[in-house]
């Protein structure tokens, strides 16, 4: 990297850590440390909600997805606006008026301590590992693309975030997230502009998008109802609805965000900000991936975007095979470039038949190129013994570091770091909250002073930061672990949502019903996942329904009709 880019990245890190540490004075008591004394404005909470959800994996993975597959992934978020409305009407006022620190604290009031403890332990396990993966993913990518030392990169991301989160609490998390969202959006906007200006002078952006559209990359909505297809309108609207309800309604890392708002309405507005903005923002990120594809129609991309694995193949006994593939790839590239220019020229004439013919020829060239890349990927898998190998996550970072001008490289690296650190900070703070409130105070020491719990909270935050950094170092070498951890989330959210549905929607559900419903839900989801090929988005629906059904059945023998629920009144089982 150029020294200017190094300066930008270093300045960003120092600025963010300083911003976070400045907030230490606002974290003098536990309520200030975990909930900012419920004083934050809706727009700051709204930005931290978005920043917590958008990790570096979103930034590099989604752009890579756009490059390789197109914009279909945007359907994943179609259920989000409806989920935000439902949460604004139900759980946001419910949690806020219940005066809880954690979502799981409410479960004890409604059911019993077993349900609360099980839910919080599942959250701690899932989020604790996720925090490590969120550190590992960008660290691995940046270390490979830029040649950074992996351990130092993990420490730079993990420990710097831990420091300001540990001392500044949720105020530090929120106000750094606000600034990090600005960096992320500024970076993405600048890259989009650079991509448009990076096209050849004789190729317009509309013409280039038509060429990309010929490959299906600009298809956004698929109305087919197919349970096995991950990205359709229905899986996004229905499966995605359940996923978003579970994530934003039952995951402490998000629930804690809106509990810091200065009022119930501020909490609602913070979620509704995402309802307005999230789909257009994701569409922009995917479009940037498509624009990277368009850029490489007229400039030479590498055959594979992961230089480390490429070097391994070059050093192996199959180097000559790889070299032959690369020669074939270069020929196919040139042919595709010619075909793309012919398609652009045909569109300029307005002759529909010529457009159809040239675009069809371009698609054939693209398919040949894709086939050659597929053979190269297979070769890498055989040489490296890594069946999960894919270079999709390296496309955007490679583009950033090799094609963008000085200064913009630094800004985009800072944006990737911002996305990672904003997610990690929110997760560390919520992990600490649940550990101290749901486990330590509830089970180990109920009679401590506020200052005692504050001290413990900071230590626990530091512990989780260290834990996540260590997990990151192992996760960096276990590619499949990332997939396992991500899949665990899809087993968890739907089932936990089911528990909260039992808690809020009916008085008949008992504590035993909730507990066994949660167990039954997770078993059902596991069974369905292992024995069917339905998309993981639908597993959230399966989990929620299974929990409610099992929970109501278990509750039947002892359930008693009770008056309607009121805010936070202890009910017992």
């Amino acid at each position: 990297m150029h020294v200017v880019d190094w300066f930008i990245v270093a300045a960003y890190l120092l600025w963010i850590v300083y911003t976070g540490l400045k907030r230490t004075t606002g974290a003098g008591a536990v309520e200030g440390y975990f909930l900012a004394n419920r004083s934050l404005p809706w727009w700051a909470v709204g930005l931290t909600v978005m920043a917590t959800q958008m990790s570096a994996i979103t930034l590099v993975g989604t752009t890579g997805q756009g490059y390789a597959d197109g914009m279909r992934f945007v359907q994943f978020y179609f259920g989000l606006p409806i989920a935000m409305i439902i949460l604004s009407l139900t759980l946001v006022p419910f949690f806020y008026h219940a005066k809880v620190y954690t979502a799981y604290e409410y479960l004890e009031r409604r059911f019993d301590v077993r349900t609360r403890t099980l839910a919080s332990l599942l959250f701690l396990l899932s989020r604790g590992l996720q925090a490590g993966v969120i550190i590992a993913a960008p660290a691995v990518i940046l270390s490979i693309v830029l040649g950074f030392n992996l351990t130092l990169t993990i420490m730079a991301i993990g420990l710097s975030t831990t420091v300001y989160t540990m001392f500044g609490g949720v105020q530090a998390v929120t106000w750094t997230d606000v600034k990090q969202m600005v960096v992320i959006v500024a970076g993405m906007a600048a890259v989009a502009v650079a991509l448009v200006f990076g096209l050849p002078d004789d190729v317009g952006i509309g013409e280039a998008l038509h060429v990309a559209g010929a490959t299906g990359r600009l298809a956004t909505i698929d109305f087919e109802f197919n349970l096995n297809e991950t990205y359709t309108f229905w899986s996004g609207l229905i499966g995605g609805l359940f996923l978003m309800l579970g994530y934003f309604g039952c995951d402490q890392s998000q629930v804690q965000r809106y509990l810091t708002a200065k009022s119930v309405d501020a909490g609602r507005y913070s979620l509704l900000m995402s309802a307005f903005v999230k789909i257009p923002l994701q569409a922009l990120i995917l479009l940037i991936g498509v624009l990277v594809f368009v850029f490489y129609l007229f400039h030479a991309p590498p055959m594979l975007f992961n230089p480390v694995h490429e070097a391994e193949v070059h050093a192996s006994s199959r180097a000559s095979e790889y070299a032959a593939l690369d020669t074939e790839f270069q020929d196919a590239l040139a042919a595709r470039r010619t075909a793309a220019r012919e398609a652009v020229a045909a569109r300029r004439t307005g002759d529909a038949a010529a457009v159809a013919t040239t675009e069809a020829a371009f698609v054939v060239r693209q398919q040949r190129l894709t086939a050659i890349r597929g053979r190269a990927v297979s070769l890498v898998k055989e040489v490296t013994q890594d069946d999960s190998y894919t270079d999709v996550n390296y496309v955007f970072p490679t583009f950033v570091t090799t094609e963008l001008p000085v200064g913009l490289v630094g800004l985009m690296i800072a944006a990737i770091l911002a996305a990672a650190m904003s997610s990690i900070a929110g997760e560390l703070n919520s992990l600490s909250t649940s550990t101290v409130i749901d486990i330590y105070r509830r089970h180990l020491r109920a009679d401590g002073t506020d200052q005692h719990y504050l001290r413990v909270s900071k230590i626990v935050t530091g512990f989780w930061g260290l834990f996540a950094s260590i997990v990151a170092m192992y996760a960096a070498n276990l590619g499949s672990l990332i997939e396992v951890v991500n899949r665990f989330g899809s087993f968890f959210y739907g089932s936990l949502l089911g528990v909260f549905i039992l808690a809020v929607a009916t008085r008949r559900a008992t504590a035993s019903g909730a507990l066994w419903g949660l167990v039954g839900g997770m078993i059902t989801v596991t069974y369905v996942a292992l024995t069917s090929s339905i998309s993981f988005l639908w597993l959230n629906v399966v989990g929620a329904i299974a929990v409610v059904v099992v929970g109501m059945i278990v509750s039947l023998p002892s359930s008693v009709q009770k008056p309607p629920l009121s805010w936070g009144q202890p009910t017992g089982s």
Binding site: I82, I85, A98, I221, Y269, L272, I279
Partner: protein
């Protein structure tokens, strides 16, 4: 440290100082904006697509 960090008012109902106001117009706006965005995405893919 108490279970209810804000111990002055009883856990539960909205207060006069912090009422919950209906924000139905914003919910309607969310749904309308989503419909518009989806329509825009669909039109975009139809215009540029194969």
């Amino acid at each position: 440290m108490s279970d209810s960090p804000s111990s002055v008012r009883a856990p539960g109902a909205p207060t006069a100082a912090n009422p919950t106001r209906p924000i139905t117009p914003i919910y309607v706006a969310v749904l309308l904006v989503e419909a518009v965005v989806l329509a825009a995405l669909w039109s975009f893919s139809r215009y540029f697509g194969a």
